[in-house]
Structures are given as structure tokens and as C-alpha cells.
């Protein structure tokens, strides 16, 4: 009986010890940094992979596509855009480009469109399949002619969290030029709904959902994103999520 008690208490101690020790190590900056090296390794090995996200058929489309992001913008700017049916919307392209520009929604809609039925995987664990239609990001970037030394494409968005911090994201040039990286205007054959990121959202099917920024207002080409907000290249990255979010 004593042995059983000893055994049961050892197992309980081992189980109960795991969480506190793990939590203490997690809160140690050096150890936390060490754990993060794995993400850097993934990015180094796979970051610029040209692998394609799997394509699906119409029958595979999710009947309900979840909304799981910061809330739909409530700013007067966004309200005005919404009221105009986004006719007053123009996507700004700035930074390290030959030709900074503003592209009205009608012009984006007039460019050659790509439709992809791909799976969206959220970092939380859910997946949904949708048919996204829009302009390959590559074609939009080429209009503005990025400088040769351009390294990252930053997406500045109209949504903000409850602290007022705006959403932003970034891709490197290889990810931005990936043939499936899209500036999406439609989901399942209809203009993107406001809560899904209207009028223009990014769609990066080879990466986790948080990369596919909604409500994109401006695209900025930069050499480094270290000076932006938390310096990690994205809203969720600044809160500890990996910059490289390949699927």
C-alpha cells in the first residue's frame, strides 16, 4: 500500500511539476529566446518555398466561413468607404518603389483575376475552404516597380484592437511574388463582406490565417520592418507568434 501511495504521489508530482517548471522557464527571457530559434530554423529552411497550397473543388467549400479577427473597423473613414460602396477606396502603394501610386478598387477589379479554392488554416487550429477571387499580389507590385533592394512588403490595415493598435502584416518578396498570394476582392463569388475584410484583403494560402490581413489600406515596400510597431513584422508577431507561418 505504501508503495502504491509512493507511486501515485510520484506520478502526481511529475505531472504537477511539468506546468510550474515549464511556466518558470517560459518566463525566462533567455530560454524563451532559445525556443524561438526553432521558428528561425523553419524560416531558413522553408521560408521561400515555392510549394503550392492544395487546390480544392467547389464541393469542398465550407458552408460557413468563420470570422475570427479583430473587429470590423468602426472609424469614420471606414464608415464613409462602406457608405460609398467602396467607390472612394484606393489601395496605396508606397515605400521603396519607382512609382508610388493609389489604385482605385475599380482598377483592381479590372485587372486579370485569379480564382483559387484553397484551405484557410487558423493558428488556433480551425480550417475553412473558400473560393477567393482577386489579383495576384505580384501583378499589383509590378505596377509600382519595387526597388532592387526591396526586401519586405508591409500591409497596413484599417482594423484596430481595443488599445487602438492597428493591424499590420508583412511578407518577404519571395512570399509576396508567390503565384497563389492574392489581393482578394471576392469570397465564394460575392464581394468580400465587411467582416471578412472588405473591400480588399490579403490571401496567402501557404501561410497561417493571421498572415492574410483583412481591410488592407496601404502596401509599403521596405528594407526592414524593425522600426514598425513592435518590430516583429506583424500585429500577432509582436505578441509572440512566428513571423514565418508556413502551412
Amino acid at each position: 500500500m505504501k508503495r502504491r501511495l509512493f507511486l501515485a504521489s510520484s506520478i502526481a508530482a511529475a505531472l504537477g511539476g511539468c506546468a510550474p517548471i515549464g511556466t518558470a522557464l517560459n518566463d525566462n527571457p533567455g530560454f524563451h529566446h532559445l525556443l524561438g530559434l526553432e521558428g528561425a530554423l523553419d524560416a531558413a529552411i522553408l521560408g521561400d518555398s515555392s510549394g503550392l497550397a492544395r487546390r480544392y473543388s467547389v464541393a469542398d467549400i465550407s458552408p460557413h466561413f468563420p470570422v475570427d479577427s479583430l473587429p470590423t473597423p468602426t472609424s469614420s473613414t471606414y464608415e464613409a468607404l462602406l457608405a460609398s460602396g467602396f467607390r472612394s477606396y484606393a489601395l496605396a502603394i508606397s515605400g521603396a518603389v519607382e512609382r508610388p501610386m493609389r489604385i482605385p478598387l475599380a482598377r483592381l477589379a479590372g485587372m486579370a483575376q485569379q480564382t483559387q479554392i484553397t484551405r484557410h488554416d487558423c493558428v488556433e487550429g480551425w480550417s475553412a475552404i473558400g473560393a477567393w477571387t482577386g489579383v495576384p499580389l505580384r501583378n499589383v507590385l509590378l505596377l509600382a516597380v519595387p526597388h532592387r533592394d526591396a526586401r519586405y512588403v508591409v500591409f497596413r490595415c484599417m482594423d484596430r484592437d481595443d488599445q487602438g493598435t492597428p493591424y499590420y502584416e508583412s511578407l518577404d518578396m519571395a512570399q509576396a511574388y508567390h503565384p497563389q498570394t492574392l489581393l482578394a476582392l471576392q469570397l465564394n463569388g460575392r464581394p468580400i463582406r465587411p467582416d471578412h475584410g472588405a473591400p480588399v484583403r490579403l490571401r496567402v494560402p501557404t501561410q497561417l490565417g493571421y498572415k492574410s490581413a483583412k481591410w488592407v489600406a496601404e502596401i509599403q515596400i521596405v528594407g526592414s520592418f524593425a522600426h514598425l510597431y513592435g518590430g516583429k513584422g506583424g500585429y500577432w508577431e509582436d505578441q509572440g507568434y512566428e513571423w514565418y507561418a508556413g502551412i
Binding site: 511539468c18 506546468a19 515549464g22 522553408l46 507568434y241 512566428e242 502551412i247
Partner: protein, 271 residues
Amino acid sequence: MRYSVIVQRLVYRYALLTRLAHWFGAIAVAVLISSGLQIFNAAPYLDAADRSTPARRVLSIGSPADGVGQLTLFGHTFTTTGFLGWGSDGVGGESARAFPGWLTIPAYQDLADGRRWHLFFAWVASLAWLAWLVSSAIKGNLAEMVLRPSDLPKLLPMQAYYLRLRREPPPHGTYNPLQKAAYTFVLLVLAPLIVLTGLALSPGIDAIAHPLTVLFGGRQFARLWHFLGMLLFVGFALVHIVQVATQGFFNHMRSMISGWYRLRDHESVGP
């Protein structure tokens, strides 16, 4: 005289690499389980499908109201308040949470950090397993462990011994037939299943190797297999720990630390 007999019966059972792989693996797996539960908590349900499909939900853990925790398995709901669905939030209170704080790394809810731990220790566990597998295969030690057809008739007598229906275990080599069955299943079937389903969910892998994800029935299905693999592994680990503790705790611990194991009367060395 008596001492010499005892010395003769001490055998060098575990190579250094096997012992290192065992302890690195044990720590890594403990971390993987608790950080995996942390990751599960962010989407506490499992679907037998590629995309999330509530109609094909196998398991879900939730909190329908404050102070209530529930687990639903194949449509049957059980109240699990205080443990699953509603329990320790890891910072001294209670909250809606699939797995409680005392089971997760970190104890508080933090998906980003849970992923950091999980992906880092996935390398440790996989490399420990792979190093052990390759070296055992090269050295031929694997033959001692793999279950053979000739072991099958000994399985029931061995179980009868554990159930105290039989005084002596059947004579056997380095491992008894039930150990062989368990080790063969866990190290050669379950471990690859867990590694491959984990790989299907790993950064950048699906885009360069869809067939792997398709093989398991899709992304959400891979999550389900990965979780199921974890449950089977936990079952093995519990039995393993009980067996070590009751079948000669000191002898087993010494052998996995120093390599030296004292043979018992019914044991010999070999397959």
C-alpha cells in the same frame, strides 16, 4: 561465492545512446504533451474531416456556462467541471478552458508560447527516437525487442503472471513477450504515426507534401490522429511507469541510468 554469482548475472543492457535517447525522449514527450494540450485549448474540438466540420465532430471540450465544464464524445456529453472545460486558469483562478493550467505549458493560456515549446521539443523527441532507431537497427539490438510470431503463444501466460494467476513468468529473452508487444507498438508504430501526423501539421510541410496530409484524411483529421496518438502514448507511459515501479524499481532505474541490469531467474539475454 554468492557475490560472484550476482556479478555474473549483471548484464550491460543499454548502450549510452539508448539511455540518452530514453531520458531526452521522456522529458521531450512530457513537454510535448503539456504544450500540445495548450495548443488544443485554442480550438478545443477534433473533426474527422479536412476542414472544420461540426457534423463530423468526434470530441469537443467546452464551457456552456460560467462554472460548468463539459466534454462531448461522439455526441454524448459528460460533465467535467473543475477538470475539463472549466478549471484552473494557471494564474490562481478558474476559467473556461479545455485542459486546466496544471496540465499545460505554460500554465496560463498562451497559444504562441505553447507552439514555441511544442515545435522546439518536437525536434528533440524526433531526433532522440531517430538516433535510437538507426543505432539499434545497425547494432542489431532491435531484434531483441521486436515481437515475433513465436512470442504470440507466450502473451497470455505472461499476462496471467501479471494478474497473479500464475506463479512464474514464462522463460524469455531480454524482454518478455508483453514488453515486446508494447515496445514494438509504441516505438515502431505509434511513434512514426505521431511524428508523421505532427509533420503534416508542421510549418511549411503541407505546401511541399500534400500527400502526407491527404494520407491522414486532411488537416483536421491529422489533428485528430495526432491527439489520439498522444492518448495511446499516455496509456503506455502510465503502464510503463507502474511496471518499472513494481517489477524491480531500483534494477530498472539503474539499468536506464548506468546500463547495467540484474537478470532474474526466468530471464536470459537475446530475442
